[in-house]
Symmetry: D2
Subunit: 377 residues, 4 copies
């Protein structure tokens, strides 16, 4: 039987709520059964109708009521998805965990590391699953890359180059027209930093997922555009376990870049490259041999990749399906736990990854504040 | 209030059924309320559960029963989606039309032109909407191209080059492992031809949608791989109204091509190019000026394109969303008709386009059989 | 000791003269020793000085005098390069051959097939080498492709798709500013057709070089832009030996295309693609395996390719070096003949290839004139 | 009348000697008249013959003799080109300058900054021109970019991202087969560092040429592969005048990268990107407008770009022509000086640029040695 889930946030026409809903229902493993989509009750109910929440008594006017009432039902939701601004994640997640409900939370999971550690502790005590939606780390081709790295196809990793240029801040600054501006550009609500928390953490999680390596220290520079209090461009030197170096650039000022996440991992026997611009492709360069373009849903794919391919080769899957991949794994784990079965090969980002992102941000902030010194995580 | 729809076919794990379901529900305009997904009742019910059909009494063991019973309900489905093999489209579509139910049908809409004309006639008499799912013609970037052509941005059209290379037939012939083989490679079930009916018609519809021009005559060559009775590669010279020439190549033997639909339209003042490999991009070359890459969901897009963009610039939408575009337009028209409102700017392929595809196939077959002569449509 | 060569034409600032000169001297196998670069004696001498012709007595005011006087010298030029308009090739080539001087001639080698056959006959009688400068067929990556085809890496060839879009005619028609217009757009001087003779023959030669297959028949359509007497766009169905089909499109009206020669060869075991836009790359798609990008001057290249790589991997060679490749082979053959050594692995286009180009044009013209029928070469 | 030049080095089959020779003679502004190509006199004379040095008495067995004897001739060479290992540049350049002969020197111009300052001083005193061959900075498309930046087309520069991945060190380390290994991997001969001196300086010069901005400070990390004493990968944070940040990555361990120089310059009104993989293209992204691909030798190019285009649009020029661009400018300046004419719009790298490269290396070394601190140039 399918899982049931609820959602907090997502109801004011923000695209991300719908992305979560579609991701969670993508593979028919879960059904949206409850929600507190927005404080405006009219919009709240409209969202529920749009998204086929059958029972309107499960549309709540605040998240505390939702946690409480749901936890008292026989058919309580199996998990809640939190898609509100960053500074509210902590209290919402804590509330649901304390009511015994599993959580999927948008990243960054909260503002401070202390809050995150507390959430982890509660989840552990209650034996609950806490998933985090690092999208880019969840594309099928990234799992293909990880499988190849685990199989030794690029040898030992010797260098990692990652970037995420986008241009919405400079476009919206000039155009003064973006609806996204408010909370993401408010230091308090966004979690203290702008670019670093928002897209820097995506890169950190992508590197971790693709390579399996642990970040040990950073040296960061934050660029403040035209005196903005927020960082809109970050340039970071990275140091991974075993002395593996890396470099990261994330920017919200890179005119002409839509959402150009790109990662290159170099090893002693070859390299791998993945770019979000063409997310179904993975480029593999074996040492001194022709470069190969690995595409999705081909027989030769690794099982971890094939498991996430829904369409025949050449039929583009995209951003919605990347969310679907996270939820497919999360739900599969919940179902396996419910049924006492072992988990399958799928992996999704957990609170541990979310905490790592917070540590990364904290170290970057400290490094930047001190003029660019190496800071351990 | 949302529309309700039913589905015939799609229930044996074929990916295309799920594509239709997701497309139809993408924009919260319709809800799956009934179905006859497969003849195996167990699988039929399982599919209904997977896809959240609430009322299992609306899961039918055959399409005639479904048409009859649904048509007698107060809350009858507003339309039915037909995703069965080509040779069954005619009788299924006819049955639902005769019971007063609107139809969306996979392409090609049927095997013979006579059947198609009859369906059109019935739909007209009953004042029903008959939509056809030409996917590639329905990407947002293609609507952007059409808007630019209508605005005169490439001047008068002077040439059209279109291609659709894929490789599944040669891969499956060698590998003998494709599940898709059976009906698509059976001349009778596939509608008489293989490559021409299946992907040639996609190109014909894409050209028509993008340019607005009407195809007048063709000169075709069919290639039969290793003595196959079916055409697996077609090469066609085209003649459009006003003497505009064109060229088409479609192949199922093009090793290394996933799903490489590509169209280039040349005019007196510029050219436009769209490729399915990167479906969010449209390339525009004004005469003697730098080539421009137009991406989706940017402020400068035409309204017809923006209307179909769901995610911020740079977040890839794909094949599912192309189906969503068809259903968004189809449902919007149905809703407008229901409410007596005028229709909006959205357009979807109709039975007229489906009939044109059949005429195209018939002319190509005749041309090829006679050794490559010009045949009027 | 180096070879000595002369040049007829090339002296009026046309870029192609300098391309030939650089090509012929690229690998230090030949030195420019004589010339009749233009009828204007002042410009003639200036060209000689620019191009380091040491002995000004070998700068001639007409080609007949040049052929006669050179043939009487002990240190006569070893070959002459002809870079004049097409309609003059025949008499110039004939004159030098009759004086016992080897010839390299720009393509098309002359206007009529009869002229070409006569030139071939004279060259044969006099035991002279007649080279033809089909540029695109001479890139290093094309030799790599041929070596792979000969090695069976794509199995048996089953389809060939070739195209050459450029836009100078439509640009110059609109801009009325191109210096190239005069003779290339004059039917008589250009050899009867425009697009077919000029760039169609390049495609025909490229296919022949890359595949080794012989063209047997064609079905052609010529497009006449705005009533031009010349063809500026040709669309041709091809039939190669063994029943291998192919398709060709060449256009001078393709706005936004610089010089987009592209060829795709499909076989039973894989495919190969080469594009002039990135001429150092060859794309190889083995059946159901990742696509591979083969780049130049890598250890794994075939010897026939490596022999033509002058710079380390990644340092772009271009159009000049493609000419260099032709002359490297031509001169190597002349030197081997002079010294009584066997020839090496290099191949360049000969008069046989030039004649095949004329047969191709003749067949296309006939096919087009008769409304698109199959014509044997 | 053409200039005459000599060459020191280049005669042992190293590709770079021929690249200089072809570059210097590319536009018929200079002729090779003398040389000391190698210490082996037989090879020395063979090189002279290959390269058409007419007078073998001007083939010298050592560079001091060459400088002395040439300086005493009426027809003394106008300049000498130095293409020997880095550690010999200083004494050779000094010798020719002291004999009153202009110099073109490969980069880096010498090992220490003090040596470089001395060379600059001598050149200044003697009123001689000292050119430096920074190749990538000299492509036509880079001049197009600079012209656009000077015209304000991207507004004020706010960020610079540059990279140069190549893989020859890791390939040769594994394969132990590269002929280039010896001196470039010997710290003393290569100028103290490997990657930083060799390709890092190329990036520094490219940024300077494209943006016109002056580098003020760096924070560098050098990566030593498997304990090599040499740096084979450098990661550098940059600080340009006016507080403009930048980032640089150069690597000789980047498997699969041929010669992937790439620069992106972001401004308040747009961005520009150039990649050596497709050196004829420049990508221009105006804020919130479609990205444009500017190609070479199109009417709309800036004069500074057009001046360096030799072939019609779409005919690829490459690495040889980039060298040709340097020499075209250098020779044009010499000729203008000789004739007392003003110089034209062309610019080439001078000793000032060479010195800046040395300052860059020195600062990077110091920064790396101290664990990654900011160091002023």
């Amino acid at each position: 039987m399918k899982l049931k889930f609820g959602m907090v946030g997502g109801g004011n026409g923000a695209f991300i709520g719908n992305v979560h809903r579609r991701g969670a229902t993508e593979d028919n493993l879960a059904r949206l059964a409850a929600g507190c989509f927005t404080r405006n009750m009219e919009k709240n109910l409209q969202t529920a109708e749009d998204w086929d929440v059958e029972d309107t008594s499960r549309v709540y006017s605040n998240f505390r009521e939702m946690a409480e009432k749901e936890s008292q039902r026989e058919d309580c939701i199996d998990f809640v998805t939190i898609v509100t601004p960053t500074d509210t994640h902590y209290e919402i997640a804590k509330c649901f965990l304390e009511h015994g409900i599993n959580v999927v939370c948008d990243k960054p999971i909260c503002v401070t590391l202390e809050e995150g550690e507390e959430l982890k502790q509660i989840a552990k005590e209650k034996d609950l699953e806490f998933g985090v939606t690092y999208t880019y780390a969840s594309y099928a081709a990234v799992q293909q890359a990880r499988a190849m790295i685990d199989n030794g196809e690029i040898g030992e990793i010797i260098n990692i180059i990652a970037e995420y240029p986008q241009d919405w801040v400079i476009v919206s600054t000039v155009a003064e027209s973006s609806d996204q501006t408010p909370w993401r550009l408010d230091p308090k609500r966004a979690g203290g930093t702008a670019c670093c928390s928002d897209i820097g953490t995506h890169l950190e999680a992508l590197i971790a997922r693709m390579t399996g390596l642990k970040l040990e220290s950073v040296l960061a520079r934050f660029v403040h555009y035209q005196g903005s209090p927020m960082d809109h461009d970050i340039q970071v030197l990275l140091n991974y376990e075993g002395g593996v170096p890396g470099m990261m650039w994330a920017s919200q000022l890179a005119t002409g870049s839509d959402c150009g996440v790109r990662i290159r991992v170099y090893g002693t026997k070859g390299s791998l490259e993945w770019s979000h611009l063409h997310p179904m492709e993975l480029t593999y360069a074996p040492l001194n041999r022709p470069v190969r373009v690995i595409t999705a849903n081909r027989e030769y794919n690794a099982p971890q990749c094939l498991e996430l391919c829904r369409l025949p080769a050449g039929h583009p899957e995209g951003f919605y399906e990347a969310f679907g991949n996270i939820y497919k794994s999360y739900c599969t784990h919940l179902l396996a736990k419910r049924d006492g079965r072992p988990c399958n090969m799928l992996r999704h980002p957990t609170i541990e990854d979310g905490l790592h992102g917070l540590r990364f941000v904290r170290a970057c902030v400290k490094s930047d504040e001190q003029g660019g010194i190496w800071v351990n995580l």
